[in-house]
Amino acid sequence: MLSKRIIASIILKDGIVVQSVGFKHYLPIGSPEIAVEFLDAWGADEIVVLDICASRENRTMDGELLSRLATKSMVPLTVGGGINSVEMIRQLIRKGADKVVINRAAIDNPGLIAEAAKIFGNQCITVSIDAKEIEKGRYEVFVDSGQVGTGRDPVEVAQSSTAQGAGEILIRSINRDGSKKGFDRELIRSVSEAVDVPVVAAGGCGNPQHIADAFREGHADAVAVGNFFNFTEHSVTVTKAFLEPHFPIRLDTYATYEHAALGGDGRLEKQSDVVLEGLRFEYHPKEII
């Protein structure tokens, strides 16, 4: 059975990983190579890297950086930022991207989606939509890192993008971005009911329960999680352990967490001293492939 995907999202600004809050404030986190290496080791199902400076600087992600990231990732690497031509997509794939994310060009030049899908297949093209709730229950698509309104409805953009050949929609709530208040389930559900390609929910994850809500009530096929994974220890593995009894989830680790209790915020609670004492002399072999 196909598992629900837990995607780790990395936002790059000036070559370093940042925490984004509401598309307004950016706090530095650190090196993208280390972030990718850790997220891969923790068992993220996919890693999305978005370079938010690329569009403004009329380029896409640096090829050399992407090559270095690709050697660290044995899970699919999805790359976005400033993509506005087939040639850029070709370069990114050659440097190790498995999928690409089109954002602004999906609004300015939707023909690019069709052209790219013809060459690379629709499974390779993800369209990301950043939506802001402008009044209760009414959303508008914004571009340029949430700065410029387009006057368009996210559901309509999702439908027209998939009609052009997008193989996946990543829908992000600008209001919830970095808020830790949970995904905007209404927004996500409206999009996932309107298209028949996979839908990835993004923006607002603060604990694993939010992910369960996005699956159950938002009907998302996957979630993209940024800040929560960057700032919480064992984040991906613990999240998966929390979700696994309720959803099909890929577990591919020696860590079982069977003795561990999860607190209300989805973080590990301290184990009993007896268990901890036992762990001291346990032998943990490195996996042999």
């Binding site: 196909l2 068992g43 013809k118 060459i119 297949g121 390779c124 996979p198």
Partner: protein
């Protein structure tokens, strides 16, 4: 790094639409020597092949034709029984034909047709980590557990007779996950992007090339 002094253990065929970088990264982790090429002479010299692929069927076949390597591949793989592993689109081009964006002829190394995944009740493309039902464990699946998940990302699948199928997966019905016929192998999923399970599969393929 691939060892240029030594004869490469496998040739990754670069035909312009592949994500051969990911395959090379995986081979590097496993410490196999490899070369990347689409040159006729390199193909003749190589002991085994990996045919990667991200892209559309039509473009892939055009590129293989444009590089004039179809006949030499046929001779080496079908004639001389040198092992070949097709990955994703690289597996689909092994079929007789595909209905992706019109009807296009494939390599025809394994009988069967590439058709759209039936999507009455599932979303297409099929994206994500799915479990397999393994029909032929030897050689590709000998080292992976039966509940292992592999990463799929495709809209079309290889409809073929069960005698050519090595594994299937469930997505809106039964679809082919792996094929094998003589020295020709193919996987619909991406072993190079399926973490430990994927690396184990690649190692099993490479071990088998040395038998």
């Amino acid at each position: 790094m691939s060892d240029t002094a030594r004869r490469p253990e496998v040739l990754v065929i670069d035909y312009g639409v592949g994500n051969h970088t990911s395959v090379c990264n995986a081979l590097e982790r496993l410490k196999y020597s490899y070369a990347v090429s689409s040159d006729t002479k390199d193909i003749k010299d190589a002991p085994a092949y990996i045919l990667p692929g991200v892209g559309a069927f039509k473009e892939a076949m055009q590129n293989l034709r444009g590089r004039n390597i179809i006949e030499v591949l046929r001779e080496e793989v079908i004639g001389k029984k040198k092992p070949l592993l097709g990955i994703c689109l690289g597996m689909q081009v092994l079929a007789e034909d595909s209905t992706e964006d019109g009807l296009h002829t494939g390599l025809g190394f394994i009988p069967g047709h590439v058709v759209l995944i039936p999507h009455e009740n599932v979303r297409v493309p099929h994206v994500g980590w799915n479990t397999l039902t393994i029909q032929k464990s030897d050689p590709l699946f000998v080292a992976v557990s039966t509940d292992a998940r592999f990463y799929f990302d495709h809209s079309y699948h290889f409809a073929t007779d069960e005698k050519y199928r090595a594994a299937t997966t469930q997505y809106g019905g039964e679809i082919t996950a792996a094929v094998q016929h003589g020295a020709v192998y193919g996987v619909q999923f991406h072993p190079e992007k399926s973490q430990t399970s994927g690396l184990r599969l690649l190692r099993s393929f490479m071990k088998n090339t040395k038998k």
